[in-house]
Symmetry: C2
Amino acid sequence: MNEEQICRQYGEILRKCCIFEGIPESEYAELLEYLRAEVRHFGENESILKIGDTKIPSGIVLSGRAEQLFYSGFVQADETQIGEGDIFGTALVCSEPHESTVKIRTVTECDILFLDMSVFFGQSYPCGSQMRIAANMMRLLACQNIFLDTKLRIYSQRTLRNKVLAYLYSMPSENGIVKLPFNQTKLAQFLGVNRSALSRELGRMVDEGIIKTDGKTIEIIKKAAP
Amino acid sequence: MNEEQICRQYGEILRKCCIFEGIPESEYAELLEYLRAEVRHFGENESILKIGDTKIPSGIVLSGRAEQLFYSGFVQADETQIGEGDIFGTALVCSEPHESTVKIRTVTECDILFLDMSVFFGQSYPCGSQMRIAANMMRLLACQNIFLDTKLRIYSQRTLRNKVLAYLYSMPSENGIVKLPFNQTKLAQFLGVNRSALSRELGRMVDEGIIKTDGKTIEIIKKAAP
DNA sequence: ATTCTTTCGTTGCCGAGGCAACAGATTTGT
DNA sequence: ACAAATCTGTTGCCTCGGCAACGAAAGAAT
């Protein structure tokens, strides 16, 4: 499958993928060549990346669904779903000299567009859209970074109350009012705490006059002492 | 202070900074111009970035020491020290349209080299070393990403035991033997757990035959059931 | 060798919060 | 509008692990 064919068949998906943002579709083919694009088909439950691998692939799911797993079988194996249009392996490309501590495998049948991100680290002198895609990659990585950093700060709070506060302060607010993008069940998952414990703690915080809530929003009344 | 002067006075520090890796010193001046470099002096305890700011500076500490704080005064304010040669604000540049949830301020007197990373997202067509510095940025962001991701996986484990296991499996090992880069006290801090609780749990794990340890290394004997 | 400092093992206490179970409220589908 | 499903509040139980305190070990410094 050459670049032209990929564009024709999957242009729709690429257009929605953040690393192609701001790039005219007419340049896709050239870019795909630059990134040594290659489409491969996978069956159900096939391995894309194994733990310990040092050659890290990165790419975009064109169809089907894959998932990323931490440790094969132990402890709280957290799974990240990778669906159509999602990109994977972006952060791992850097760790090339390291070994992968995650594995990626298909869930359903998949078509996957592999991209060789290592070209950015080579000697080639990219220009125009090639630079643009590099910038998009930077932005993508940076956004993931911010996200992980925020989440880590929440998780590193010792008490449930402080997790809630850390969450609230990391959210955009309009004069102290935070709109919750989740229901309480999802919020508990996001904070990594027990659902009923969250409900209990929110109740206490309301009682103590720290917050007000109507279920959809939370208003921060009192700031903790510095 | 122009680019030439910066190079002469601080070339030493820049050379050790990861974003200049692999770039011949002769090109520093040109690069600094491209990145709109600007050196500013700060007194003790001056603010570099405030919570809520939307214009995010990023740069390198040339002398002195600064720190990054999460929330002014609440809950577990985790502080990150930023010393000579350290770079800050790299991830935040992406979040430009967002508000900063951290603040950065100097601890001692500081000279700071501000770099305008937003040039990567502009229309300019960089080449040569400019691309190289972009690649270095990507690598830096990606490495931070891997680090945060790993740490988050550890933190998201519910039990202390699983945190230990998550840590061990995220470390390079030689046939099951992990060399600890920390003493136990630091390890506890890294895992975000109580020191004596860690000691207690390690003891239990040895008793149960899950690991062996001599204080400097830990050998994983038994893998938990999948 | 001896003193000082840092680290590590151990132990008792106890409180935060995980878990389970249930009932009322809210949302969704038909 | 009614039934089914999902979500939230509440409560009792019990364990994990934080905290404090102490003494032994192990380095460091003199």
